[in-house]
């Protein structure tokens, strides 16, 4: 089996008196899709935030390619090739889809103007439209602020952003929750494609059939701790639900 690409051990995270993570571990290898499942409030999103530099865990270690790393900001995580679709999307509602797609990585004009920081809006717009087509998203007007889009359209923009920029690991926190049937299928296709390019994909979803269809492995989080790991090919929805609800237990795995 390949070495872990990203390996988190015993992460603990408190919010005031709430313990969101109580020693959670998590592993993902290059070229695999790992599903992270768990009940509402199990700590999945918190774990993702810790692994993408948004939150700093109170204790625990994170290593990338076997070497410990400190992910103290989203920039740090991004520079290590980690991209994330956040559950709350984290988009700028007043900006249009193309601006959101290129947020923080804007394309600049060539030559002097570019060096002065002038944006190449036309090119960004062109590429954005291509990305959206790829995901089967049809936008009524690409110049509209993203806050005025439908829930699914907005989610598509966030998904498009992560896959455009990913280079090693992509975290997707419920990326398909608001998507239509067609768009959902496209996103799953994209996930497979990204995996086949050798990247690691971490998928969070409450849709168990979807999880089993696309994931290679499944890790289960319960009350802030990893309680089970499964091979997707040899497990069932019942087993997963059992692990999530605590009916079935592998101990602290």
């Amino acid at each position: 089996m390949a070495l872990p690409l990203l390996d988190a051990r015993e992460l603990v995270k408190h919010y005031g008196s709430v313990e969101a993570l109580r020693g959670a571990s998590f592993t993902v290898r290059a070229g695999e899709v790992v599903a992270l499942v768990g009940d509402n409030g199990a700590g999945k999103s918190t774990l993702v935030k810790c692994l993408s530099g948004v939150e700093r865990p109170d204790s625990g270690t994170i290593s990338l390619d076997g070497a410990p790393v400190v992910l103290d900001s989203p920039v740090a995580a991004r520079s290590l090739g980690i991209e994330t679709v956040y559950q709350d999307l984290a988009v700028a509602p007043d900006l249009d889809p193309a601006a959101n797609l290129f947020l923080g990585r804007e394309l600049r004009r060539r030559g002097l103007l570019g060096r002065l920081g002038v944006l190449d809006k036309r090119e960004m717009r062109r590429r954005a439209v291509a990305s959206f087509d790829d995901l089967g998203v049809s936008l009524p007007d690409v110049d509209v602020p993203i806050g005025q889009l439908s829930g699914g359209q907005r989610q598509s923009v966030a998904v498009a952003r992560s896959v455009v920029w990913a280079s090693r690991v992509v975290f997707m926190d419920e990326p398909t929750a608001a998507l239509g049937v067609v768009q959902r299928k496209r996103v799953l296709d994209v996930i497979r494609r990204v995996r086949d390019q050798g990247m690691a994909v971490v998928l969070i979803s409450h849709n168990m059939p979807e999880v089993l269809a696309v994931a290679d492995r499944v890790e289960v989080l319960r009350l802030g701790r990893r309680v089970a790991r499964f091979d997707a090919a040899s497990t069932t929805v019942e087993e997963l639900v059992g692990a999530m609800t605590g009916a079935l237990s592998q101990g602290d795995s």
Partner: protein, 331 residues
Amino acid sequence: MTARAGLRRVTGANTLGIAVVLLVLIAVFGALRPDAVLTVFTLQTTLVETSVLLVLAVGMTYVIVTAGIDLSVGSVLVFSGVTSAMTMNALHDGNATTAGWGVVFVGLLVAVASGAAWGLLNGLLIARAGLPPLIVTLGSFGAALGAGQLISHGSNVAGVPDVLGDTLGTGTWFGVPNLVLVAAAVTAVGALVLGTTAFGRHTYAIGSNEEAARRAGIPVTRHLVTVYLLAGVLAGLAGFMALAYFRVASITGHDTDNLNAIAAVVLGGTSLFGGAGSVVGTVLGVFVPAVLRKGFVIVGVNVYWQPIAVALVLVAAVWFDQSRRRARDKR
């Protein structure tokens, strides 16, 4: 991208409503006193008298687009004027009236550096320490004024070089006052940077959703520091411009500059909640009250009625602007 959408990109929010209001105001005053209103003299003086505020308001636009606020600009203007004037005097035996360009240049540097220092302080306290902009800049509002009084012993500082006053202060260039040229240049650069560059884009993103901007890898802290720094630098420049214009560094009389600048920005369609707005709107927002005040004096409105009339027209202007937008959205 249609031409109209392209225009909208630069002007940001739609500012046509306020532009119409401004034109109507000019037309009404012009109709009432054509001999006095529609003259080169009135145009020139109106432009000159708004130059300093315009420079402040350009910086304020950036701050408000990030959902921040800067109450300190008027005091920073005073402080910069004082330090600049006192430095120039010190360089020229205590009275710089007859000093040359070298001294003036040092004065400019000192003014800008003073503004930058306050802006940097604001920015660090707001972006790094995470304190509310209102409290931080209210603090520097008091502190900068106090510091200005302290180093000037509480009185206005005279001794401004004549070369400065005669050129930047009252000089013209093909009939356009030099002060206006400076303000126009600042405004144009400000509008272009906000509307077309990555820096501007990041400014909008931070105001729209600061957390999203941070997660997108925008260096939010550094950017906010830069924005407050910019506001400070422009306040410093404005202090130097005021120095050239009035030929004295006044201590008092700038305590409502902050509100005037904020009002211009909001009148120009920028939301106090950030994420949207434009420098072009701010320009209109600066001119509407300026034209009003001027027009009322020329037309001879009773002094006690003037503030009431200004208030009425301001509110009516925003009302008109809003209903126009709503009508457009309905279409």
